[in-house]
């Protein structure tokens, strides 16, 4: 909970009295984590920053469209459109509207991807990373050259800001933009007191003109479809992070988001299994592990070669099956622990 300096102590105390009732929720979440992934302070901070930035961008965009395209002249809405304070964020947070599974998984993936990008930059410079795509620009196949250029443009857009975390509305998958837009519309309506149709129309326009293909991940996936079969070498230092993940996803049948999640897990075990399934050599797998790993852990040739490829393939196939099915299976297999009070 953020303290608002504009509010008096009495009001703050009253508000704190309400929120403190949730201390057991917060404490339980910290005390009894359900996943094996360790959430560092940096991850949490970056996640918060990312979410704030995205909410701010969507909010601003809706207000600007409402004002410019639909002639809305409401003062408060114009003010929201003109500054980048992220007015609706505290409202959405308090109402628990930012706690949906799909949204939080997306935020975590983005933050972990940033983390991987930072790890990669310890091994190779930004300039070198950009130059890895340049080799595709001269490809005789114009489609490959165009796809490489599109990815370069998307990456330079991501890197243009000075913020620690790169958040851009263009990179959002349709489901995430959809899931955030309507709660933000409701929050802006509540904040402004405006109840007319123009905010909703602006939201519809924002959603209808959103082009997923402009996102960095999508552009990397498109380039991966073109170049993967032409280029045997698969490595983050050879492809850059986005193209590497997209190519690995294409080859393994897993999604890019799953692969990013795997990199956050202890010893990146599932990523290692995926590499084994893809018949990567021990040297290649160890090298990729070394580049992506951030906790000082090592993958040894012996432990990699020990992995039974067929068992690994069965597991990877299972992980690449329908997410809803996997989720249902997991819940059904969770032992019933009785009712909590």
């Amino acid at each position: 909970m953020h303290q608002n300096p504009g509010v008096g102590l009495v009001q703050q105390a009253a508000a704190t009295g309400i929120t403190s009732a949730y201390i057991s929720d917060d404490f339980a979440a910290a005390l009894f984590p359900k996943s094996d992934i360790i959430l560092s302070d940096r991850i949490l901070s970056n996640g918060r920053q990312y979410l704030q930035a995205i909410v701010r961008q969507i909010e601003t965009e809706i207000c600007v469209i409402a004002a410019e395209d639909f002639g809305l002249t409401h003062d408060m809405i114009i003010e929201i459109g003109n500054n980048d304070r992220g007015h609706s964020y505290p409202l959405l947070q308090n109402a628990g509207l930012l706690e949906t599974k799909i949204l939080l998984e997306h935020v975590f993936t983005c933050v972990q991807r940033e983390e991987l990008g930072a790890r990669l930059l310890r091994k190779i410079s930004q300039a070198e990373l950009e130059s890895v795509l340049v080799r595709h620009l001269d490809n005789e196949d114009q489609a490959i050259a165009d796809a490489a250029m599109a990815l370069l443009v998307a990456q330079s857009r991501d890197n243009s800001g000075s913020a620690a975390i790169h958040a851009h509305i263009a990179n959002l998958p349709a489901e995430i933009l959809f899931a955030l837009t309507w709660p933000i519309v409701a929050a802006v309506q509540k904040l402004s007191g405006y109840d007319g149709p123009d905010l909703k129309k602006a939201a519809e326009k924002l959603l209808s003109r959103h082009d997923e293909s402009g996102g960095t991940q999508r552009r990397a996936q498109r380039l991966a479809q073109f170049v993967d079969q032409l280029d045997e070498n698969l490595h983050p230092l050879h492809d850059g992070l986005d193209l590497f993940l997209a190519r690995m996803a294409l080859r393994s049948g897993l999604s890019v988001n799953q692969l990013i999640l795997f990199t956050a897990e202890p010893q990146m075990m599932r990523l290692v299994l995926a590499m084994r399934t893809m018949d990567m050599s021990a040297d290649q797998a160890m090298s990729i592990f070394g580049v992506l790993e951030g906790g000082g852990q090592l993958l040894t040739r012996a432990s990699y070669n020990e992995i039974d490829r067929e068992q690994a393939a069965d597991l990877v196939k299972k992980w690449s099956s329908n997410i809803l099915y996997q989720d249902a299976q997991r819940r059904l297999n969770t032992p019933y622990t009785g009712l909590a009070d």
């Binding site: 489609a143 997923e212 294409l250 040894t300 012996a302």
Partner: protein, 476 residues
């Protein structure tokens, strides 16, 4: 399959509000029909149908990669799904702007074959059984012909246990789903070869026991010990070993502790068991590296002893040098890639049938290509070519290394001759063993080289009569 590459014009289709494919360009319609769809029926390509549902639900344009299987092909598409809310509410337009077809990867099969080559090279194989120990798959090195008759039989019917190992130990381990370690067994039929049997239980996706995967490592025949007095004498004269047979006694006795040293040193070096000071970790890595070097030396010495036995013989298999050249290149592909070296194997479309022992020819080629990688500059190319020469057929391994001076070309085939090189992991026995093996198979191993111009090692073996259906070198 007619479409390849990106499309000049997108493949289009349209779904009505009920999800039926009301129009589609021929490639999409074909895919839909082959996926079990009907004309004007619901879109039958699940990946596309799911995207259409999502697009309709969100009323948003989606732009995503889609992969669909079509017979033996995988189709990678880039698809744009657009709801046509303004024109016809509920209608969805499908635009496929990239459509790439590729045969389903055979990499898995190639990898399995490569794994089997490694096992054959090391005299090892694996057996997969079901939960009742019935053999579901196996291949025995040197006894390939009898493989099929074992499939379906119980493992306990195929192998006898040799003391001190007992069948009861195996049965107990299996009943408790425990790993089986180093049991001595002998084939009940065929060549009655002896093996060391180890196995791991297999657990399926539902967590149920589904059988075992056993590894068999061929042992040297105990009865050969009494017949090798000449070999012992040779070895003693060479000062190689004192009074025991290396291959049958000292070799296995050394391999086991060396294996443990290497494994433990790797574990320590990689800090799997906990944090360790950096220099200690490096010491452990040095120990592992030295252990591997010693293990190679033990293997070479075992081979050296074997080929020096008076009764040393090789099997006469019908083999193909092109096939073996490709297999050997595959086994060393990773090592070559580490040095950015490209191995150019012989053209798989031609045949070079010869007579020789599969495992030994593979061993020679791995040695020749391994040497070529070791002594070639990074980024160079190693060429493998086959030539037909009268009654023999040869495979040539040509590298772009420093070459060998004329006066040294005889020396390299001598025991422990390293031409002054050291510290590169070689034992100085590889070429000596390879030449003796080639001689034993009725062939030869020669070198042609000049300083600064690389080397060409030529392995010649007796040509085998070709059946009419096989095109040979002359025809290609």
């Amino acid at each position: 399959m007619t479409i390849t590459g990106n499309l000049a014009e997108p493949v289009r289709g349209q779904l009505d509000a009920d999800g039926r494919l009301i129009s589609a360009d021929p490639p999409l319609m074909g895919l839909h029909m082959r996926a079990g769809g009907d004309e004007n029926g619901p879109l039958a390509v699940p990946q596309l149908a799911e995207l259409c549902r999502l697009s309709r639900q969100l009323d948003m344009v989606l732009s995503r990669p889609v992969q669909a299987a079509d017979d033996d092909y995988l189709i990678n598409m880039w698809v744009e799904i657009r709801p046509l809310s303004d024109e016809n509410p509920g209608t969805i337009a499908i635009n496929i702007i990239d459509w790439r077809e590729a045969p389903v990867s055979t990499a898995r099969g190639e990898i399995l074959e490569r794994q089997r080559d490694f096992e054959r090279l090391n005299g090892r194989t694996s057996i997969r059984t079901d939960a009742s120990l019935r053999i579901m798959g196996l291949s025995l090195p040197g006894d390939l012909g009898s493989v099929e008759q074992y499939i379906g039989q119980s493992l306990l019917d195929v192998f006898d246990f040799v003391a001190p190992s007992k069948q009861t130990v195996l049965v107990e381990s299996i009943s408790e789903r425990q790993p089986v370690r180093a049991q001595h067994v002998r084939q009940r039929y065929g060549k009655k070869s002896c093996y060391t049997l180890s196995g791991q239980p297999l657990i399926d996706n539902d967590g149920l026991f589904s059988g075992y995967r056993f590894t068999l490592e061929q042992e040297d025949e105990p009865e050969t010990q009494d017949t090798d007095k000449e070999a012992v004498t040779d070895m003693e004269q060479d000062g190689l070993i004192s009074d025991s047979l290396f291959g049958s006694q000292l070799g296995p006795a050394l391999r086991q502790p060396l294996g443990k040293i290497i494994a433990n040193a790797e574990t320590i070096g990689s800090r799997l068991e906990g944090p360790l000071r950096g220099d200690y970790s490096n010491y452990a890595k040095d120990i592992a590296s030295a252990g591997r070097h010693l293990m190679d030396l033990v293997n070479d010495l075992s081979d050296l002893e074997a080929i020096q036995r008076a009764n040393f013989t090789v099997a006469v298999d019908d083999i193909d040098l092109v096939d073996l050249g490709n297999r050997a290149a595959g086994l060393l592909a990773v090592k070559a890639t580490d040095h950015q070296i490209r191995i150019d194997p012989p053209d798989k479309n031609i045949k070079a049938p010869v007579k020789g022992e599969f495992r030994r020819v593979l061993q020679i080629l791995v040695n020749l290509i391994g040497n070529a990688i070791r002594y070639s500059p990074d980024g160079s190319v190693i060429k493998l070519r086959v030539v037909h020469e009268g009654d023999t057929t040869a495979i040539i391994v040509q590298d772009q290394g420093d070459g060998i001076a004329a006066e040294d070309q005889k020396k390299i085939f001598e025991k422990f001759e390293r031409l002054g090189r050291s510290g590169d992991g070689g034992s100085g026995l590889g070429l000596f063993i390879s030449r003796r093996l080639a001689d034993a198979m009725g062939g030869s191993l020669t070198v042609e080289s000049a300083v600064g111009k690389g080397s060409k090692f030529k392995l010649s073996l007796p040509t085998r009569d070709v059946t009419e259906s096989e095109p040979d070198l002359d025809q290609s």
